[in-house]
Symmetry: C2
Subunit: 425 residues, 2 copies
């Protein structure tokens, strides 16, 4: 464990802010419900904005609902070094998902300011609007907005109470008619860094406090339907059956083997949803529909595994006398973190005396959107038992502090690139 005396950032201040923000929309002792563009979200944004202003940033909420605090650079015309994440939550969420990325970035910038460090380029701390997507069923709204990637009809999406996103934005104080003014022109952002909880158990399993992210894995999402022949469970002998559930069971197990086929690879393959027709205890399943989720940071390897999956379906259907259809629902590419940023993180971690494991991210983050506009890097913080989107979500304060410290050192290194040699460091 790193001693807190080794850290440059001020842990106590960081954790007080995390605690204070978690009181807005609190559920029970440890939960949070701060839905995007809600009253609670507004309160949260105003609180963080006040902290930004307190430490000397110029803060504003743009027309997409993003909160942006700016520390001017030596050269204001240089591409921005952007840091951030989100503070909106799932309906039954936790205190750390998103928030530590915003408040960690704030702590980083405050520490820079207190050290009288003036960055070469401007640094912006952003709390992106509606990363979670649970209210209007489409997430990454603020980051997509500022990058000009909104899709048609997004403002007309409604929540469960019938409130449209347009209405929600307006009551949040945003003006959808002025979206253009909140856009970031191409090239205006140089680098993006995000600190986030892992939302998975890899770091915990390795006994690591933090990790360096190698990229965000693009998922392949399929819906498979296998069709056999129904029949009475008592009267159709085993060797005459065309049982669709037998086929599906073999594919579930085969997909698992495919995902594990390269030892050490971070590939994951899952059947998460499945339904049986007619779903009666004394009728042999005629039709089984199930989802496939296949992810790999290495897209070439994933493509290879897709071929194996196609063969598995073909062979299984043939073996059990089934027909099948496959629908592709999503096919995203992987987005890699910049190697040079990972190098800096590795060096800075070594100076701190830690060797963070390197791992891919399965879930999406705002960084995914930013990856199309600039180089990006991510730091993960150990999530207990990998639980998130739940009040049980937990990351230890010392792990969050260490992740924030690594973010600080990475930012400082990045922001002093042009002045290296002149730096007093």
């Amino acid at each position: 464990m790193i001693q807190s005396s080794t850290l440059t950032i001020q842990s106590e201040r960081l954790h007080k802010r995390i605690h204070d923000l978690s009181q807005i929309g609190r559920i029970g002792e440890t939960g949070v419900c701060r839905l995007a563009l809600s009253k609670e979200d507004y309160e949260g944004v105003q609180l963080v904005k006040s902290w930004m202003e307190e430490i000397g940033l110029t803060a504003r909420v743009d027309d997409y609902g993003n909160l942006i605090g700016r520390l001017e650079g030596r050269d204001p015309t240089l591409p921005i070094l952007m840091l951030g994440s989100h503070i909106d939550s799932q309906p039954y969420g936790g205190r750390f998902d998103g928030s530590i990325g915003v408040l960690g970035a704030l702590e980083v910038v405050q520490t820079l300011i207190e050290a009288k460090f003036v960055p070469e380029m401007p640094i912006e701390v952003v709390a992106f609007c509606d990363e979670e997507g649970c209210r209007f069923n489409k997430g990454l709204f603020g980051s997509r907005g500022m990058m000009g990637r909104l899709e048609e009809g997004e403002l007309e999406r409604t929540d469960k109470q019938g409130v449209s996103r347009r209405e929600a934005l307006i009551s949040f104080g945003c003006d959808p008619e002025r979206f253009e003014e909140s856009r970031y022109p191409e090239g205006s952002i140089g680098t993006f860094l995000e600190l986030h909880i892992e939302q998975g158990p890899v770091l915990e399993s390795k006994g690591a406090q933090i990790g360096i992210v190698t990229g965000i894995a693009g998922p392949l999402w399929l819906t498979v339907e296998m069709i056999g022949v129904a029949g009475h469970t008592g009267s159709v002998p085993m060797n005459l059956r065309q049982d669709a559930l037998m086929g599906a069971a073999k594919v579930i197990i085969g997909l698992n083997e495919i995902a594990r086929s390269e030892p050490g690879a971070p590939t994951v393959g899952t059947v998460g949803s499945l339904s049986v027709f007619p779903d009666s205890r004394n009728i042999i399943p005629e039709k089984v529909s199930f989802t496939v989720d296949l992810r790999d940071i290495d897209l070439d390897r994933r493509h290879g595994l897709e071929v194996k999956l196609a063969n598995l379906l073909e062979d299984t259907a043939a073996e059990h006398g089934l027909t099948y259809t496959v629908r592709e629902d999503t096919n995203s590419e992987s987005r890699y973190c910049a190697g040079w940023i990972q190098d800096i993180m590795r060096e800075q971690a070594a100076e701190l005396g830690v060797t963070p494991p390197e791992l891919m991210s399965g879930p999406f983050h705002d960084a995914l959107v930013l990856s199309y506009y600039c180089d990006y890097g991510m730091i993960f913080v150990n999530s207990r038992a990998g639980i998130s989107h739940n009040p049980q979500e937990y990351s230890a304060p010392e792990d969050i502090s260490l992740g924030t410290e690594l973010l600080y050192r990475t930012v400082r290194e990045l922001a002093s690139k042009l002045q290296r040699g002149n730096s007093s460091e």
Copy 2:
């Protein structure tokens, strides 16, 4: 194929009756909806009753709704030789299920009468009330009733329109207050024979027109719940998962192997119903609940397989870090057809020049109830593709005729046991 000239029964008459009965409650070209105790069922019962009377039987509808036609024997005090099945149908049923057993028995008795054959014992042809059980969700009503096996609250069961069985019986002309009078005292039935469609594909797969049933297999019905740990499909590495659906898939495949483990045995094992929680494409399944249906005519063998299944559950749960529960919903014993009746059927079939395959019945029949009161035998007729409970249900007329002929010869042999030697045959 047996030439119809070889047959003693009159095929044309039999098929005309099957056709005429199928017009009552007809759906489309080939379907039938004749729910128990409905207007259509009443019409059907009245039509069959008129045929019984036409050929010289004494016919009555008892207070359970059973239609009974009696041919007096040389000694009216001897235990009855009972023949029959049912004429009620599934809501979207076929023309043959049940009906061929009643109309086949009627044809058998008419042929006996025309041959001036007087049986030693009385012969009764019965159309049992509500074998299917789909209206009040509990079947084999009439046969259980006359054997004194009704359970508490049966008359209070209601159909989808809120009509109770008691009300339905009364409007059918029955008097539930007089049930006792319709009971058959112990020992009053000597033998029961039932002709029925197979409702499975075994005979078709063997190219056989008819088969001799060895018994009705008792099912073991279980509900299994396997419980693992949910997690994000993108962030939990394969080797750290406790995926409940992986466990269920292995049990599905393992159950199949268990059911096939003794080559040539008629064991069947099926998972027909399954549900996943939370059933989301990007969440690893936390809980999977599924049914197990295991049947075998040999109860000792089935017990052995149950032990294998218990081990399979234990091993699979351990392998995947799951917990599980097993609930026993039904555990019925098998009921064997009398060996001496099967012997007579085999001999009579040989005289006809056929060697019917011997097979167990997975589905229940009225014969299951009768099996607790007397020796019983069953003849199965080839069902195209094993389909039943559906308008597509089909059995070829020549196969039904052959089954009826075998029933006729078996009855004649049984009914002349006491007069063997005096017979002109």
